[in-house]
Symmetry: C2
Subunit: 232 residues, 2 copies
C-alpha cells in the first residue's frame, strides 16, 4: 500500500449495520404473520427510487427519515398492515435508527479509530446516524452524512466533501463499503477504496456475490480484517 | 426543572476548552519572548470582526480555520513574528485543533452522555472540532458546527438547526455555554439554557465576572456541576 490514508469513511447501511436482519427481527415482534424478508427487501427497494425523486427535483431536499416514511406508507397495504396508526408507523420507521451492527463492526472500528480518523459517509441523516451510533456503540469520530453536503451518494459532492471537511487530498480518504457502485463513484473522485464482504446483506435466502472486483485497493472479509490490512 | 431536555448542545471555545491557556502554552514553546497573554487575546479579539466580514457578505462562506489564519497573518507583525514561514504559520494556526479541555470537561461530558445526547454547537468547523475531540477525548455523540448550517452563531439557523437535526422541539434542546450573549440568542429561539462559569477564560490576569444572570434555567460552576444538576 502507498502512504496510509488519513480518513476512513464508511458506508453504513449494509456495510456497518445489518438492515435486513434488524427489520426482520422487529417485524417478527410487531406482526409475526408478515413475511419479514419480503418486507425488508421491499422497504429497501424503495430507497433508490425515492432518492431519485429528490435528485430529479420532484421533491426538494429530503432527509432519509422522511423518504423511509414515504416508502413505508406505500408498502404497508401490500403486507396487510394498512391499519397501523400514526404512532405505530412513526415507531416502525425509526427501526432505521436502531439497526444492529454486524458482529465485527464495533470492535473493528474501535481498532481502526486508534490510528485513523473514522467517520460514516452515509445517505442516512445526521439524527439517524447519531442515534444508531449511540445505541450500538459505534465509535465514530464525527458524523458525516448526505445531510451535511445536501447531496446523496454517489454525488461527487459527498466524496469530495469528506476531503474538504478535513482539508486533505481526495487520496488521503479511503471509502470502505460493501457496494461496488459506491466504491466506483468514490474512486472516480480520487478516493481510495476498500471493499467489505457482506454476503448476508440481503438475508440468508439471498446470498450476495462478494467476489473481488478489480479497482479496489483493499478487499476485506469484514471490518476486523480491514483493521488487519490497515495495520491496526 | 420541567421535563428533561433530550439534547445538550455545548459551546466549545471557552466553555469546554481553554483557548487562552492553550495558546499561551504553545506560544511559550514557539516564541518565549512574546507576551502570550496579549497574543492570545489579540487572536481571539479578531474573531468576531472576521465573522462579521462573512455575515456582511464581504467574504463568502468561510470556515473558522481560514478566519483564524487571516487574523493570525494580521497580528504576527505586531508581535515581532512576521518572519514565521508558511509551514510555521499553518502549524500555529492548528493550535485551535489542539485546545486543551478544562479539567472537568471530559469526565463531566462522559457523565452527561450516559443520559443525554451531547453535541458541540460551535462556530468552529467540523474538522477542527473533530480533531480536537479525538485528541482531547471529548466524547461527543456527533459533531454539529456552524459549517453544517452554513451560518455562525448567533444566527437562529444554528440553534434551531440542532432541534431540526434531531427532529425535536426547540425546548428539548439545552444550550450550555459560558457566554450570556450566546445563551440569550438560543433562548430567543426557544431553547433552554445552562450557564457554565469559566472565570479563567481570558486568563488569570483578566478574571471574568461569572455571577448569575436572570433568564438561564441552570447556572453551573463547571460541567461536573452541570451533570449534578441534570441528575447524571
Amino acid at each position: 500500500m502507498a502512504a496510509a490514508p488519513k480518513v476512513l469513511a464508511f458506508d453504513v447501511f449494509g456495510t456497518v449495520v445489518d438492515w435486513h436482519g434488524s427489520i426482520v427481527r422487529e417485524l417478527a415482534a410487531l406482526a409475526p404473520q408478515v413475511d419479514g424478508d419480503a418486507f425488508a427487501l421491499a422497504w429497501r427497494a424503495g430507497y433508490q427510487p425515492a432518492m431519485q425523486r429528490v435528485r430529479s427535483g420532484e421533491l426538494g431536499w429530503t432527509r432519509i427519515d422522511e423518504l423511509h416514511r414515504l416508502i413505508l406508507d406505500d408498502i404497508l397495504p401490500r403486507f396487510g398492515l394498512a391499519h397501523l396508526d400514526e404512532a405505530q408507523r412513526a415507531s416502525l420507521n425509526r427501526v432505521w435508527h436502531r439497526l444492529q451492527p454486524w458482529p465485527d463492526s464495533v470492535a473493528g472500528l474501535t481498532r481502526l479509530k486508534s490510528r485513523y480518523l473514522i467517520t460514516p459517509l452515509s445517505n442516512g441523516n445526521i439524527g439517524l446516524l447519531t442515534h444508531m451510533a449511540k445505541r450500538a456503540g459505534l465509535p465514530w469520530d464525527c458524523i458525516l452524512s448526505a445531510e451535511v453536503f445536501r447531496a446523496y451518494k454517489p454525488d461527487p459532492a459527498t466524496y469530495l466533501g469528506v476531503a474538504q471537511v478535513f482539508d486533505v487530498a481526495p487520496d488521503d480518504v479511503m471509502l470502505c463499503a460493501a457496494h461496488h457502485d459506491d466504491l466506483q463513484a468514490a474512486a472516480a473522485c480520487g478516493l481510495r477504496t476498500a471493499y467489505i464482504e457482506r454476503p448476508l446483506e440481503f438475508g440468508a435466502a439471498h446470498i450476495k456475490d462478494v467476489s473481488p472486483q478489480a479497482g479496489n485497493e483493499l478487499h476485506a472479509r469484514d471490518i476486523a480484517h480491514l483493521a488487519d490490512l490497515l495495520g491496526c
